[in-house]
């Protein structure tokens, strides 16, 4: 199976507004890519399209050999659950569920994964992230940083091939930002996932081996460096 992510001539329109315009981009397997740009440049839209949360208005997106832009809602849901770990900027944790219940949601939805295995994998990482002792708390009883880690644990619980992060450091100070980026980096190394991080913060972007600027709905500057 071709593990490359190929974005081919993709456009996304919201009414008359073009969020993305004829965008072409290729991302290799296990790449760690920072997608940066100004607010409203279309970087988050690109991430949502890659995560199967939205569909392009035109063009094709090939993920793991499949053209997901032709997927039905049902197929996209399956794709999101099986291939994608999404770390949302606003965490999207359910307030009525405890941390561990939130983390186990993708596994519960999946149905075919061994819950015990998933749980032991999650517990292992929870300890690493320092949230193992707050897993039974409700999100409202956690700090923003703790909620972010629960969010990360939920995203990696099914060992996704593609880890997408939308402004993961948006609400954090520079010290915590560094911790989170290091964490994502090491998790991507451990799981062998392709990591894409959307950020508006240039200092965060420079920490990634590949950086892609999204400018007015298209690809602007691209740069590579070895960290």
């Amino acid at each position: 199976m071709n593990e490359k992510i190929i974005i081919n001539n993709v456009s996304k329109k919201f009414g008359s507004f073009h969020a993305l315009k004829d965008l072409d981009l290729e991302i290799n397997e296990q790449d760690k890519v920072a997608i940066y740009g100004q607010s409203g440049s279309g970087k988050s839209t690109l991430l949502y399209l890659l995560g199967g949360l939205d569909k392009p208005s035109s063009g094709n997106i090939y993920c793991f050999g499949q053209n997901i832009s032709t997927y039905s809602d049902h197929d996209l849901a399956h794709y999101r659950n099986n291939f994608v770990g999404f770390i949302f900027q606003f965490h999207f944790l359910l307030g009525t569920l405890s941390g561990i219940e939130n983390i186990m949601l993708p596994a519960q939805i999946n149905g075919s994964k061994n819950i015990k295995d998933v749980k032991s994998y999650v517990m292992e990482h929870a300890e690493r992230l320092g949230v193992h002792d707050i897993l039974n708390k409700l999100p409202s009883e956690m700090s923003g940083g703790q909620q972010q880690r629960i969010n990360i644990l939920r995203a990696i619980s099914l060992r996704p091939k593609l880890l997408l992060c939308d402004e993961p450091t948006g609400n954090l100070d520079s010290e915590n930002s560094k911790i989170v980026i290091d964490l994502l980096d090491s998790i991507a190394d451990d799981t062998g996932a392709t990591l894409l991080v959307v950020t508006h913060d240039q200092s965060v972007a420079t920490r990634f081996s590949r950086r892609v600027e999204i400018l007015d709905g298209g690809v602007g500057n691209q740069s590579m460096n070895s960290l």
Binding site: H74, A77, N81, F88, F90, L94, P106
Partner: protein, 366 residues
Amino acid sequence: MSIILSTIGLMEGFERDLLSALNKSNGDFSISSLMKREDLNALADSLKKDYPSLTAAGFYKSEVFLVGKNKESKGAIILAGDLQKNIIPLIQNLSSFKLRKGQAIVGEDLARELRLKKGETFRALIPEGKGNGFVIKNFEISELFKTNLYEKDSRVVLVDIKEFFPTEEVAFNYSVFNFNFPFDDFSTQKDRIKILNDQLYSMDENLYALPYWDEYSTLIEAVEIEKISILVILQVIVIVSVFNLLSFLIFFREKKIKELFTLHALGFSPDKISRIWYFVSFSLWGGSIIVSIILTNIFGQLLSYISQNLMPKNIYHLGKINLYISIENYFVVYLISCCWILLMTYFLSRKFRGDSLLRGLRQQYV
């Protein structure tokens, strides 16, 4: 659903109880021509060719004036038949009862109005006809009957034919017939009487069968029309219920939309979300069915008590009204409610599918 079922049950119950009580107290049909005993037997034998289980009973029917205890008095109808042999089909639960001379069987309500009990005596002023004045006779109440039909229970006195015709030479002016078929659909019964009257007309132009419901045909017709009118009016309740249900489902949607969008983002397919909608809706439907059955039964018990103890019998004719709800009625009401629920759930489910996942997540969380 409970209101609809109870209303349907009340109307059906009233009609059914009225027809049943009339049938039990009037037989299937009556002929008011003057007939000697042998004429009646010949007619019955002739009809038996087509209706082998037919039974017939001849009566002499006359209006009387009764005087009871403390000079309580009331006009009544006296029916004199072969009560030493049988009283079928007039009062079914007294079919094996035998009456002696000077004895009478009186309706329960009539006895109460005359302030009489079983074993006590009343006077009957019986017109002799042709302006010859009255004959006064005393009767002892040997039994009380209850047909559940107020007009019968408060007006009819049964005595033996020998009180009027001491010899075998009798002149029946009111003959009652019973097909002895199982009590079936009203329209089938109507058709049967129509066919019978054609037969009787071909036998003798003066013979005409009055069906057992004849004296209440206007009321029964009115009930039929009222049933339709009430069913139309009940649509208001249906509309209100539909809005209630819709508001509940919208409330539920608003309450749970955050969870649904989150689950959807994590890979819960739209089909599975639809299944949740349908599960909630059908649980609601199932719960409503159980509640409606319980409430309808409570109403049925209340109605039974009210109709027996508080309802003016002379207005409603029946001593007691039971709720009658057929399986078909349950089926129709539950099926229609199911259709409404399915329709609403379908539109809500479609609306969810139509909503953008991203917009939904942002609306709920940001």
